[in-house]
Amino acid sequence: MAQVSSYNLDQKFDFTASLKKSIMTVLGLGVALFAVGVITSLFGGHHDEAADASGHAYHWYHRVFANLWINNVYFTGIAVIGVFFFAIQYAAQAGWSTGILRVMLSLGNWLPIAGVLMIVTFFVASHDLFHWTHSYLFDKNDPQYDYIIDGKGAFFYWPMEKGSFPIFFIIRMIAFFGIWVFFFNKLKNLSFAEDNLSGSHDWSNIRKWSAIFLVLFAVSSSIAAWDWIMSIDTHWFSTMFGWYVFASWFVAGLSVITLITLYLKGKGYLEMVNENHIHDLGKFVFAFSIFWTYIWFSQFLLIYYANIPEESVYFVERLQSDVYSPFIFVNLALNFVLPFLVLMTRDSKRHGVFLKVVCSLIILGHWFDFFLMVQPGTLGHNGGFGLMEIGMLLIFGAAFVFVVFKSLAGKNLVAKNHPMLEESYHHHI
């Protein structure tokens, strides 16, 4: 019977100039589309006199900020899911995934960049993205004083005075990125240290750090979802929201892992990864697409059924809007109907063609999910899906892929001393 050692385990990914060029072309295309989008909205946008007078005028850069925020949150999620899925493999002592561990881990390289972008965007765009950053909401003598937001103020401003500097919010943002980047580096160093030694010492060590990370991630990912997305609609709240955002991130992250694995296999790397491993990745994408739908629908059904105004406003804003209502159905079609029907059969999960199409569309679909979370609360009827959105998505996507491929290049693609490598190779389903 064939052994895993009959393959070249020291294979290294060659980040060729032509590949770099194609990524740069996509980036350039994104910049061009984005620029055209900005110019059109500069000259084409109508001017709302009434809104101008109240100090809430809509400017083209609001849409830029909203786009930055959508992609920041989305790609941060994909990056941290790479580390999360890697940690899950160790905590669960999974053997099947050993050949693709490095692919999962590579997504985390985006995290430091994402952290900087997130913090900078928050400081630049706080008033335009987050209603709660206005200090008049907390001033009892101001006509615009908001009793409900005042009650929630401590969540952002503690221990400082409400309406001043959102120190608690900023500390959380820095702490979450700090934790995620710290654990990513720890796991990466341990995983690559293993290449020089055999034995299970590093494996046990990674397992310990993974378990700690998973506990911290469970809390931080949920609170990050409230902070970065749910607080946009400050009055509204949903107890499902942490899970909802996590599920969206997870499916998108799994799709990216699957696509990169298929790409590397297509180029002749990851020789020991076969259709059984691809099948398992496909099952994950299939299962968690349904999980996302379950969470999405659980949130929707309870709000729809109870029909309490303070809760249903979230869906009224989206379903009864000319701008956003079509995207609700695009969202459900791309993220539920498509993976559910296409990935149901065994063959479609074992053959790369189906997976490539479905995973690409899922990545787009979950971008629409975040688009629907962020834009209605920040831009209202001024939002939409146009050149600016496509351009920004291409820019972020190309930059993300560039960082991930650069980190994969020049290092071993397979954890060659992993104690379960042989088991992974003989994985059969």
């Binding site: 929707f300 029909n307 059969h428």
Partner: protein, 176 residues
């Protein structure tokens, strides 16, 4: 000679030997009736050349039946038979129907799949199982070869092929 009556049995100790033996025996032109094992042997369905099970198709069809039944039932009850206004919603409020639809889909898909499996595997409660060798419930793998389907080779030749591919014993078994 009648089919399904007289069998030559090759008894194997080890599943790796068994896997190789299946390929060898099939390679020498013998048609295998069935292989019995005390535990699942990975990859044996591939070497035996079994076609993919059609059970998932049955499950899918039963699932669709469940979806349809659930939607028709709820629509009939809520819209036609006894319309009531609940929470100010339309009589046929589609989102409300989804949980029940989901449950009935899963229920019928699961029950249908179990039922089809029972019938197709001859696991009817009144079915009389044929035991080729009692040791298949303990520590031996048994390859059963129907003499009637391999009449051109003859009992002795089949026995030799089994021996040469690693069988520890070759027995004969007849059923009434």
């Amino acid at each position: 000679m009648e089919r399904d009556k007289n069998f030559v049995l090759g008894v194997f100790d080890d599943e790796d030997v068994l896997l190789d033996a299946v390929s060898k025996v099939r390679g020498s032109g013998v048609k295998i009736h069935e292989v019995y094992s005390p535990f699942p042997v990975h990859g044996i369905d591939d070497v035996l050349g079994y076609k993919r099970s059609r059970l998932p198709i049955a499950a899918f069809l039963f699932g669709i039946l469940g979806t349809t039944l659930a939607l028709v039932m709820q629509f009939y009850m809520m819209k036609i038979d006894w319309p009531m206004i609940i929470g100010g919603k339309d009589h046929a409020a589609f989102p409300d129907f989804i949980p029940v639809t989901f449950e009935l889909t899963v229920l019928l898909a699961a029950f249908g799949m179990v039922g089809v499996f029972m019938v197709s595997s001859n696991l009817k409660p009144w079915a009389q199982p044929r035991i080729f060798d009692l040791r298949i419930t303990d520590d031996k793998h048994v390859m059963a070869i129907d003499l009637a389907t391999n009449a051109s080779l003859g009992e002795e030749k089949i026995g030799d092929i089994l021996k040469s591919s690693g069988a520890t014993e070759v027995n004969k078994k007849s059923f009434e």
